[in-house]
């Protein structure tokens, strides 16, 4: 199957509609997903913040620990939301619910379903991002008007991880394989300058960390909410866009091969 045979996905909305209907009876799950990042913000930001006090941001600026950690938690929660939707839930639909087998027997194609799934994951993630920014403003953790762009930035983070998650899921054979996803996400969550600046690392390790996707997402969101805006943020954007597009391409091509035998 070659790229040329792909059709422009004009019927993606049908897939979104289907997901919204499926969620109608489980809206509590959607809501309670917001609780965890808030707890992290309170516990880590203010609890550990009482032990850490201030963090140097570079350029001679220092901020309180809560201001430092909040944007990182926002980016990390965008990643988590997107990746769970596009790995565990997607695997369930592919393997057990056979949702896609049913979908491809209708005029809705694989391209529509893939794009629809990605947009759905993004939508769910942006709901959390908007809530998180409002909470940050209420707690006085936003120090720059650029913070308004933190919402689309989080959506971009969500897109990149949702697309890559979907691509990875097409290779998954059983639930146990998804443990590897967990094992990759946890160190990324813990080491991507989430809880402390990269300047803590030795130079070689720092270089490695700076090439991981969550670091890019955190750097972008943190730059926007703390007002450290510069051309480096465009590099972060480019990184995440490319990662997302590669993910979409792999997922679409592999799903076609799998479902249209």
């Amino acid at each position: 199957m070659s790229v040329r045979t792909l059709r422009f996905p004009t019927r993606s909305f049908r897939m979104i509609e289907r997901n919204a209907m499926a969620l109608r009876h489980h809206w509590m799950i959607l809501f309670s997903g917001f609780v965890e990042p808030v707890l992290y913000l309170l516990g880590i930001g203010f609890g550990i913040g009482s032990l850490v006090r201030t963090i140097p941001l570079g350029g001679g600026r220092t901020v309180s620990y809560a201001v430092f950690v909040a944007p990182a938690l926002m980016a990390a929660s965008a990643m988590n939301g997107a990746i769970y939707e596009s790995t565990f839930n997607l695997f369930w639909k592919l393997r057990y619910a056979k949702t896609f087998d049913a979908i491809v027997s209708t005029p809705v194609g694989i391209e529509d379903a893939t794009l629809g799934e990605v947009i759905w994951a993004i939508g769910r993630g942006s709901l959390y991002s908007v809530g998180f920014v409002i909470l940050m403003i209420a707690l006085g953790l936003v120090t720059s008007p650029w913070a308004i762009l933190a919402v689309p930035a989080s959506i971009l983070v969500g897109f990149a991880f949702a697309a890559m998650g979907a691509a990875v899921t097409t290779f998954v054979r059983q639930w146990q394989d998804l443990d590897i996803v967990q094992l990759a996400l946890q160190p990324m969550f813990l080491f991507s300058a989430t809880f402390f600046p990269v300047t803590v690392y030795p130079p070689a390790l720092r270089l490695v960390v700076e090439w991981t996707p969550l670091y890019r997402g955190i750097d972008l969101v943190r730059g926007l909410t703390t007002g450290g805006v510069g051309p480096a943020l465009l590099g972060d954007v480019a990184y995440l866009v490319v990662m997302g597009l590669i993910g979409v391409a792999i997922a679409t091509l592999r799903l076609r091969r799998r479902l249209l035998k």
Partner: protein
Amino acid sequence: MPATGALRVVEHNALVFSRLWRGTVTVSFFTPLFFLASMGLGLGTLVNRGSGGVGGVPYIDYLAPGLLAATAMQAAAFECTYPILGKLMWDRIYDAMLATPLAVRDLLAGEVAWVTMRLLMVASIFWCVMALFGVAHTPESLLVIPAAALDGLAFAAPLLAFTATQRTDNAFSSIFRFVITPLYLLGGAFFPISKLPLALQAVAWVSPLAHGVALCRGLVLGNVIPGEAVLHVTVMLAYTIAGVALARPLLTKRLVK
């Protein structure tokens, strides 16, 4: 003989575990490794610089035993929710077991014995990771392993009773989001409970986790106060015994028609 009956249940669990242990053990090793490296060392440099550690010790020494207690809680909560409900209604393993000479009390004793073994396993692996980071440096610090297991049991037994009343797994995600995660983050593992607002401090001390964290921390740092230790153990034992006492009639009601 109740003991042999319980042993059969343990044997069943061990047999299942022997097929799946690789993933579980890998996670039990890498999770504390990553957490101690990131929070203990990375974040620790900032804490030590900002306020000279916590209570006069470097942050990683403060964090590690607290994290062990919190991890035991998480492991216990997982073991006593989804897998137990699975045996109750999805796979109906308990119905099958009760069709043999086993009785409900054997199931309960066996499950409690098994979760104790799992907790000792998790805590032992965690202790090894602590030793790798140079946190556990006294032989007395080995006592943290049974202490963490008791802390886990104080969650395992009441949750077992709760699971016996459930018909779907819907409530479990709420238990994790509204009980386990808040305790994990705010229950004294990462920073002193005294930093919380007063009302939350009271809630924290009602939970067995705060007592587990305090006991584990005292054992690892070597500054246990005997009177306080007795209180911590008593609270955790009380939760465990109350949980088992509740679970028995609930399981009987559920399984014996």
